[in-house]
């Protein structure tokens, strides 16, 4: 199931109906919800937690908690796909922190050990890079003019944090830059995106009314 950014609200509407039934304990609706959202959520999780076995465990945790917390989803305020994606991302990011605290589980490090390239590396090789993803998203959402307002390092920092779940410190290490510099890149990039996106949203609305 491939979701285009433009389809997001509509896909969300279908899922909202299913979530409402899940809230009432409807298992068939839950199975459908899983069928329609799991490939997306798994992509979100796998992007951050690249160990496939751990990522599948996480996906299980995520849907178990979705079943249990469907009541807390407020359809009048959020879109289901957004709600689900946020849950999935938070869990995936937490799993990295836990994995770092337990060295036994670490299969996320990408240093040394070059004699046995594992599944992690294979995935990293064929998966599109975070910048590439941001580029595709900007084309799909026609926000390339907003992206153009960001400097190259700003774009790269945001992409690494957003898609790959890297912390400020990890982005700094990755780009070999001071932490403070990276923090301000991310902060400014987000502010620039905000004002540009909000302007285009207003423009879209006005065109819609005209």
């Amino acid at each position: 199931m491939k979701i285009e950014p433009a389809d997001w609200p509509q896909r969300s509407q279908e899922l909202a109906r299913l979530l409402a039934r899940v809230h009432l304990g409807d298992r068939a609706a839950f199975a459908q919800l899983y069928e329609r959202s799991s490939t997306h959520l798994f992509a979100v999780v796998l992007r951050i937690q690249r160990d496939r076995v751990l990522a599948e465990d996480l996906l299980q945790d995520i849907y178990v908690s979705v079943w249990k917390s469907a009541a807390s989803f407020d359809a009048t305020r959020s879109q289901p796909l957004t709600w689900l994606t946020q849950i999935a991302r938070n869990r995936a990011i937490d799993s990295l922190r836990r994995a770092q605290a337990q060295p036994r589980l670490v299969s996320t490090t990408r240093d040394e050990d070059d004699e046995s390239p594992d599944a992690t590396d294979a995935l990293a090789d064929e998966a599109p890079g975070p910048l590439d993803l941001l580029g595709r998203a900007s084309v799909a959402r026609e926000l390339s003019h907003c992206m153009d307002l960001l400097s190259a390092p700003q774009r790269q920092s945001v992409a690494l944090a957003f898609y790959d779940g890297l912390s400020h410190a990890e982005v700094a290490e990755h780009l070999n830059q001071p932490l403070g510099t990276v923090k301000s890149w991310v902060r400014r990039a987000l502010q620039t995106l905000k004002s540009c996106l909000d302007k285009s949203a207003v423009r879209d609305q006005q065109q819609g009314l005209a």
């Binding site: 199931m1 491939k2 979701i3 285009e4 950014p5 389809d7 997001w8 298992r27 068939a28 199975a31 459908q32 899983y34 069928e35 799991s38 490939t39 997306h40 798994f42 992509a43 979100v44 796998l46 990522a55 599948e56 996906l59 299980q60 849907y63 178990v64 079943w67 305020r77 959020s78 879109q79 796909l81 957004t82 994606t85 946020q86 991302r89 938070n90 990011i93 922190r97 998966a127 599109p128 993803l133 595709r136 998203a137 799909a140 959402r141 945001v158 944090a161 957003f162 898609y163 779940g165 912390s167 400020h168 991310v186 902060r187 987000l190 502010q191 995106l193 905000k194 996106l197 909000d198």
Partner: protein
Amino acid sequence: MDYAKPLLADALAAQYVAGTLRGPARQRFEALLPSHPALQAAVRDWQGRLMPLMAVLPPQTPSLKVWRGIEQRLWPSQSTAAVQPWWRGLALWRGATAFASVAAIALGLLLANPPPSLPPVVVVLESTGASPLAPAGLSLVASVSADGRALVTRPLTQVSLQASSVFELWAVPPQGGPRSLGLISAQSPTVLQRDKLPADLLKGGTAALAVSIEPPGGSTTGAPSGPVVFVGKLQL
């Protein structure tokens, strides 16, 4: 910190949604969220801006065991029953309701087709809920000619399978393991090959019919290797 300040709320929400708010800072933020409408609004705005960018991630299909694990964790009492071979549970199969629908469909078929000398035997295979691809509530009908020499399957709801999987139909004898009757379509009626049907199909050789999800070409092990998604008892 004063989280009611709009600028601070907005900056924190941005970092939360972008994923860079970490550790104790994120925990504090999540703890405050339920009681701060301004924070909630800021988070919603940022989610609206950023989350659709996630849509460009190429979809990834988790293995079937993820769904099974979810079901086992949420409804453990039912999955302990599944520890037995699945066809052992058939005796308990909902007799009355199944019979009512069998009767209704048999009547429908009789009205739709000019009656042959003997009516066909119709088996309603109901979804087991073992896979999200065939959620509970779906059913599939198999009709066997009275002489047991022809079998046609017909999905009552179209099921969309991925290209990497197919439906395989099985005859389950009263004793022993199931035996393959061939591959069937998840979307349209399938006429099974005559030579694959066991001669004793309607003569006590079959207790039930079942459908499993298999790799293209069908199971290579001689028994269902994927989840059994439809089961129906044969009632003569």
